[in-house]
């Protein structure tokens, strides 16, 4: 992973997101997620305040320093060459530590253990399945579809009707976004995405300013 810009990244263009929830539903449906689990969420800030309302689609950001992988007591995370952060559900004990370490609230827990205890963690796989045999039935059942191995775009981004949700290498995504911002002709700078600002702002996350 010499070139950090070749990692796969999501980017939600907050100026385009219309809060339609299509990405959320597409993801839940494609991966047949249990009720209550949403790998992708759409959150609206300043709901109803004119000019200030912002909607963002958010899931796992597949961090380069992946804090979740640093705290896991059973060490079940692995990071692929392309930057996708995945984990092994057979090892996971559902302790919740990855959630506490995650800046974005990505890891979620089905309440399916004894007496409603937290089951194995589930999060966005960037539609890349898991450590089981690629495209096997058991992989699909445990981790959802493996679309990346088939050369397809993750289903949430494919579904996005306004193309607000983009996915690709960070190089490609930022190039696309820069073109958009320039085309809009607004005086906005190229780093005007609300989420990326709070997430990668120097003040808020020291280790993650790439």
């Amino acid at each position: 992973m010499e070139n950090i810009n070749s990692r796969l990244k999501f980017y939600c263009d907050a100026d385009r997101c219309i809060e339609c929830f299509a990405c959320v539903v597409a993801c839940q449906n494609a991966h047949e997620l249990p009720v209550g689990i949403a790998r992708r969420k759409v959150v609206t800030l300043n709901d109803g305040v004119e000019g200030k309302e912002t909607s963002i689609s958010i899931a796992c950001m597949h961090c380069s320093d992946a804090p979740c992988s640093q705290v896991c007591p059973v060490d079940c995370f692995y990071i692929r060459e392309d930057g996708i952060v995945l984990h092994d559900k057979e090892k996971c004990i559902g302790c919740g530590y990855c959630l506490y370490a995650c800046p974005f609230g990505a890891p979620q827990f089905p309440k399916d253990g004894v007496f409603g205890a937290k089951g194995a963690m589930d999060k966005c796989t960037m539609c890349a399945g898991g450590p089981l045999e690629t495209n096997s039935e058991i992989e699909r059942h445990t981790y959802g579809q493996n679309r990346i191995s088939e050369g397809k775009v993750p289903v949430c981004a494919a579904m996005c009707s306004t193309n607000a949700l983009m996915i690709g290498t960070s190089e490609k995504v930022s190039e696309l976004y820069r073109t958009r911002v320039l085309a809009r002709g607004e005086s906005k700078e190229a780093n005007n995405s609300y989420l990326w600002n709070v997430a990668y702002n120097k003040q808020s996350r020291k280790g993650l300013t790439q």
Binding site: G36, T44, Y97, G113
Partner: protein, 299 residues
């Protein structure tokens, strides 16, 4: 006709958005807007928890795991256990109800502490079913322990207030550094037992509360979060930090307690089974209590 089609499709549309809201954990107290608003504050508890769990907690647990077994073995080999006559008179110390409460707590701790260590060293055991079973046992043992906390506090708190005896006890480390049988200044409970009480009871309550927060995760805790002025995710991070640090302390004191009761004072464990302590043991190790009992004519 067109009117109805528009109506029908808008109805369908509103239903799909309802579906999204109901299953998309839309404004979940943990995962919703509150989480997004907590992102800029990540550097506080988020980064601290990540750092502590990555660099320090496993070291702390490693020390906690070996400290008492090593120190205990050295003490046993150099100084050895205290042996009191078991043929003399007995003094009644603990009623049936308190014995049941104490032993339920002991049983739950025998589960909580080892399973806690297994989770803390989950990668050593390779994760998976075994560690998961331990996690569930840890959760099941918690309500058992919770039942016993209030009775023990109510029954013993008056005897657990520190006094001058305890200062003297501390100065001579309870007389455990020699084999001499000299009366030790202590009431019904000595300073060591008192310290264990204050760690295990208020500390135990804190362990139950922080454990429960982590167990229930995303039930609505906004009143608690508002009370402390933090977001729910930060509440969970604080809980995890407290549970780990206090867990090391509780586990260490628990092992000391077991060593004293089962090994260092031969047969002391019987008092929590039968309720009776050896008269000689009381006269030496709890001399102030013994004097008081004598004055009251109870022995």
């Amino acid at each position: 006709m067109k009117k109805y089609r528009v109506l029908l499709s808008s109805l369908l549309l509103s239903m799909t958005s309802l579906y999204a809201i109901s299953t998309g954990t839309y404004d979940d107290p943990l995962y919703g807007t509150a989480m997004l608003n907590a992102i800029p504050k990540y550097f506080a508890f988020g980064e601290v928890f990540t750092y502590l769990q990555r660099e320090w907690f496993w070291k702390g647990f490693l020390i906690a795991l070996f400290l008492v077994p090593v120190a205990g073995s050295i003490h046993y080999m150099i100084i050895g256990p205290k042996v009191f006559s078991h043929d003399g008179k007995k003094i009644f110390a603990f009623g049936l109800f308190m014995r049941i409460m104490h032993n339920l707590a002991a049983l739950s701790f025998l589960v909580l502490v080892p399973t806690g260590f297994v989770m803390a060293f989950g990668d050593f055991f390779g994760g998976g079913t075994f560690v998961r079973v331990c996690k569930n046992l840890h959760g099941i043992a918690t309500p058992v322990f919770a039942i016993t906390v209030l009775p023990m506090i109510i029954a013993w708190i008056r005897d657990m207030i520190f006094n001058m005896d305890d200062v003297k006890w501390m100065m001579i480390v309870g007389g455990y550094l020699s084999k001499e049988k000299k009366p030790i200044p202590a009431g019904k409970f000595n300073a060591g037992q008192k310290a264990w009480f204050w760690i295990a009871m208020p500390g135990g309550i804190l362990m139950i509360l922080t454990g429960a927060l982590m167990f229930f995760l995303n039930i609505n805790l906004s009143p608690v979060a508002t009370l402390f002025g933090v977001s729910q995710i930060d509440l969970l991070r604080i809980s995890a930090i407290i549970h780990n640090v206090l867990g090391m302390v509780v586990a260490t004191f628990f092992m000391v307690h077991v060593y004293m009761a089962a090994i260092a004072i031969k047969g002391a464990i019987h008092s929590m089974i039968t309720g009776y302590k050896e008269e000689e043991e009381v006269a030496i190790l709890h001399s102030s209590w013994y004097r008081k009992l004598k004055e009251e004519g109870k022995v």
